[in-house]
Structures are given as C-alpha cells and as structure tokens.
Subunit: 344 residues, 2 copies
Amino acid sequence: MSSAGSRITMAEVARRSGVSPMTVSYCYNQPERVAPSTLRRVRAVAAELGYPGPDPTARSLRRRRTGAIGVVLGEHLTYAFEDPGARRFLAGVAEVCRERGIGLNLIPTTGEDGDVDRVRAASVDGYIVWTTVDSDPVLAVVTGLGKPVVVHGGPAVPGAQVVSIDNRASGRELAAHTFPGARRPAVFSQPFGRDRRPRLEIGPDPEGVEFPVTRDRLLGVYDHCREAGIDPRGLPVAVVARNDRVEAAAMADALFDSFEPDAVVAMGDQLAYAVLDAARRRGLRVPDDVAVAGWDDDPDAEREGLTTIAQSLFDQGRSCALIALGDRAPGDAPWTATVRRSTR
Amino acid sequence: MSSAGSRITMAEVARRSGVSPMTVSYCYNQPERVAPSTLRRVRAVAAELGYPGPDPTARSLRRRRTGAIGVVLGEHLTYAFEDPGARRFLAGVAEVCRERGIGLNLIPTTGEDGDVDRVRAASVDGYIVWTTVDSDPVLAVVTGLGKPVVVHGGPAVPGAQVVSIDNRASGRELAAHTFPGARRPAVFSQPFGRDRRPRLEIGPDPEGVEFPVTRDRLLGVYDHCREAGIDPRGLPVAVVARNDRVEAAAMADALFDSFEPDAVVAMGDQLAYAVLDAARRRGLRVPDDVAVAGWDDDPDAEREGLTTIAQSLFDQGRSCALIALGDRAPGDAPWTATVRRSTR
DNA sequence: CTGAAAGCGCTTACAG
DNA sequence: CTGAAAGCGCTTACAG
C-alpha cells in the first residue's frame, strides 16, 4: 500500500489494471462474477495504489441507501450519555445497528434555529426521534423526507410511527399502588416543556403540558384520582428541570417543605430516588410516612425497594431501530407495575 | 407541503419554477445572490411539491465533505453508553459536533470480520478511534483513507495523531503515592488484550500487554517499583474482563484471597471502587490496612475519598473531535495526581 | 442576476 | 466473463 492521503478513484484503478471501471466495481461488489485472474490483478493494483475501496458517499448516492440511521435527541448531546433511560434506549438501537452493519448517527437538537438544517443534512435512511414536545419543528421536517420515521414516547404525528408504553394507563395504575391510604398525595414530575422551568403547581391542567409522555402520565394519575375520589385540582405537582437524581434534590426538598406529602408518584426512577433521598434527610420512613413510586425499573430500583413501572427501554430502542430501517416492529411496548416496599 | 414519501429532485423544482437547477441550488446555498422574486417563486414551488431541500448524500459527494465524524469503538456499542469514562469522552466529542453543526457517527467494532467494512462504509470526514490494541486491523484501514485520524489513548501509528495523558508517568506517580509503607503491593488491571480474559498473574511482562494504555500504566508502576527497591517480577497483577465496578467484584475478591495486598493501584476508578468494596467486605480499613488508588477522578471519586489520576476525558473528547475535523488541538493531555484519604 | 457545462465517484441493468 | 451507457442529485467556477 502506497502513501495515504491520496485520492485514488475506481477509474484510476481500472485504468492501471487495464479493465473498465465496472469490472473494478464488480471486484468489490460481486467478486464471484469476475475471472479469478482479473480479480487478482485488480486487487494487486488497488493495494499498490492504496485505493481504499469504493467511496461510501458515491456508493450511497448511487444505491440510494446510506446504511445509517439518525437518532434525533432534543437535548445537548451530553444528555444521551448521562440519562440512564436514554442510555439503555440507545444501547438497544446500537445493538440492531451492529447486527445489521448499520451506522448510527447521533443528531443533537437544542431548540434553536440550526436544528432543522442539521437534521436535514444527515445522510441517513431513517430517523428515530427521542421523545419531544408536540410543537417540535423537527417533526414536520423529518416526516417530510420520505424516509421511515419513528418517535419514541411520542408525540404521534402523521408520517411517523410511535414506540411507547401506554403512559396514561401506567400512570393510573401506579397512582393506584401509591396513593391509597395517603392524605396528601403529590406528583414529582419531569419537565412540562422545553423551557424546563422548575416549578411547584397545584392541579395543573394536563393540556398545558407540552411533552406528551409527561402529559399522559399526569393524565393517568388524574384518572386514578377521580376514581378514588381525590380532586386532582388540589394535587401538588412539583416539576423539575432535568431527570437527574442530584439536580432534583432541591425541588424534592421544596415539595416536602411546602406540602408534606405522604405519597409521591415520581415520573421516573431517578426522580423517585430524589424523593427517597429527601425523605431520608427528614427522617421519614418509607412507605409508612411517605410512599414513593417511579417509572422504568432502573438497575438500582430493586436495591432501593422502589415500586415502579417496569419497561424495557433497551427493547424499545431495538424496535425503533428496526422501524427506522423499514422493518415492522411493535409500537405498543409492554409494561408492568412492579410493586416493592416503597409503597404500602 | 404535499404528501411525504415522494422523491422530488432539485431538477423537478427547477422545471416547475421555470428556472435552471443551478438557480434552485443557489436558492439554498447562496440565497442572497438570487433575485428576491425568483427566490420567492422557487421557495413556493419547493413547498408546494414537498421538496425537502438538497439531498445530503448528493451534496456530500459534490462538496467532498460529509459534515460528520466517525467514532470507532472497539466494543459492543452498549459499552459506549455504560462506561463512565467513555461517556465523558463522547460527551466532549458531541459538544464540538454541536458547536460545528457536525454529525456524530458511532461505529462499533467487535474484533470480527465485518469491522473493516463497516469502518470503511461510514461516510465521514474524519475518524476518532477509541483506544485499542496495537494489532487492530482497523488502524491500518482508517489511516489509509486520506482523512484525519486521531486515536485516543493509543496506540500511536503512522498517519494518526494520539490524544492521551502520559500513562506511564502517571502510573509511576500513582504507585509512588500508593505503595510506600506497603509490604504486599499489587495491581488491579484493565484487560490486557481483546480477549478480555480475566486472570491473576505475578509480575507479568508488560510487553505481553496488547492495550498500550494498560501497558504504559503497568510500565509506570514497574518504574516506581524499581526506584523503590520493589522487584516488579514479584508483583501480583489481577486482570479483569471489563472496567466495571460490579463485574470486577469477583476478581477483587480473588486478589485479596490469594495475596492479601496492603496497597493496590487500580487502573481506573471503577476498578478502584471494586477494590474498596472488597476491602469493606473483609472489614479492612482504608488506607491503614490497604491503600487504594485509581485513574480518572470520576464523579464519585471525591465522595469515596479516592486517590486518583485526574484527567478530563471530556476535554480529550473535544480535542479528538477538533483533530478529526482537521483542526489543530493538543495531543498531550494534562493530568494530575489527586491525593485523598485512600492512600497513606 | 441566471444558465450551460462539467463532474463529484460510483453501480446497475443490459448487451455481448 | 467484461464493457458501453446511463444516471444517482447535486454544486461550482465560469460566462454572460
């Protein structure tokens, strides 16, 4: 192999081998159709010239497939590598990519103007959109590209499939495990919208919640409340900026200080841990003084004895990857309430 | 915008707008050069037809840049989302990508045959190779492509830059903080080679270690030993399969059971925690009964009181991304020994 | 301000 | 078993 950095083309290899470019192409793509002696000669010339094989971009253009899928993350990309749920999901996506020899293109979006261009500029065969707000402009762009699109968690939009658990039903069931026997139930919520403004509200209107996953979980909790004779309009809902155990500590403290809840449905295990941490700081017993529950059944949930909605984000990642590649895969993901000692 | 899924080309938009394709191209690439009325008309037609803008693959071929960098991970990709060090590194890479509007293409390799093809098939402008073994065939492939290549941690190969701390010097210094006063020093090591075979050895020859990062750290420890009058040929070295706290527990137990070490240099904070865990299980006091140190200064290191080599994997990720994009960036990464209460 | 020409580097039916 | 032809969808100097 000669010096790197050169820009050798297939045409050049063909010329030096005394064959046509298509024969060289066949050497790479259908070598069994090429005479052994020709194959040998072409390979020798390619090696001598340092030809690295067909240019992937040219090949993609010609074949009209890039061999990659794009994952649109509505967060600073560091998030993808921090959030435990996002990680398990991406690991599932990655597994399919590896099985199929497919590339995985991460496309961070930040809610700013460049987003749409970056999404459009990605050379991919299909898109996975990590759960976002209803009004995210990326959704229209990505569904207008004529490529398979799947949205994890929602929102559901025309031209895209959704892979998700039934957040509303799971919220209803989780509240039914957490609230009975409580006098001051409360919710510890993921962000309502992209502004990620933390806040403490009482009985907020779910229609004002921009993230459908969050909205549906809240609706499910309200469903239970109505069935159980609790007026959701009086339900304290603390909203954090990020799904992070440490960062959520202050808001968990605020929730206890303001409302002294004795049952908290948290919209994720990390948030539930933040509630457990705050309870511990106050010397409260779980579940006697306060019942706590979360979502995801994350690796620490068993050790923490947390009642939680178990779902496989890994498998959902796999499903999304398959759909983005044009396959069929289930959109309704299974979930079960796993009841442990953090609820009564 | 009309129905999605259609395959509208720029030529079609041009025809329907009554202009040439290059004018349409200018509408997207240099709109200020186009007459306002033309621009308006072309945009209207594009919207009406549902033309999603220039095809990224065709654009990449023509421009000879793809606007993406590839990150080659020599692991099942799930690793990238689990290992704390890899995550911080990738977060740094991702940050540069976001700043520059660049795509991030993750390319897992498994040591099997398809690796080389997948690496070559990625449409990227430059490559970042996550630390690998000297003999990894991917290195030759990737440096033969005429694109910028940077290897994190090593090995150093012609045609690629390396971004790394000085592992040997840091190993020497860390041992100097950990071994003094010890009578039975030991090493708790990352894998030696791609087979990831766990084992317990005594004074292994560093030249037999395939991962240069691991080899250099071991060489550094040996350097200290010689200076301190310890014969490295008698040094117990336990080698784990993965840099994972929980998974390493069994090997940490084996190390204690076999050698009762009173000072352990672990090649990473996760491994150091595994040693601390094993020490706790035995009721050993740290550092009195056993001194422990690691690498990386990971987020939990302070809480654990761990003496460790602090380095910014995040910044190293940034440097690698810049180099892969053709910029200059420092290859020698800073490090410092952070001494805490886990050593005497 | 707009267009004719050339070409990025390849692959794919189709002949022969 | 090999090649001539066409074309994937765009962009870029260059004219005018």
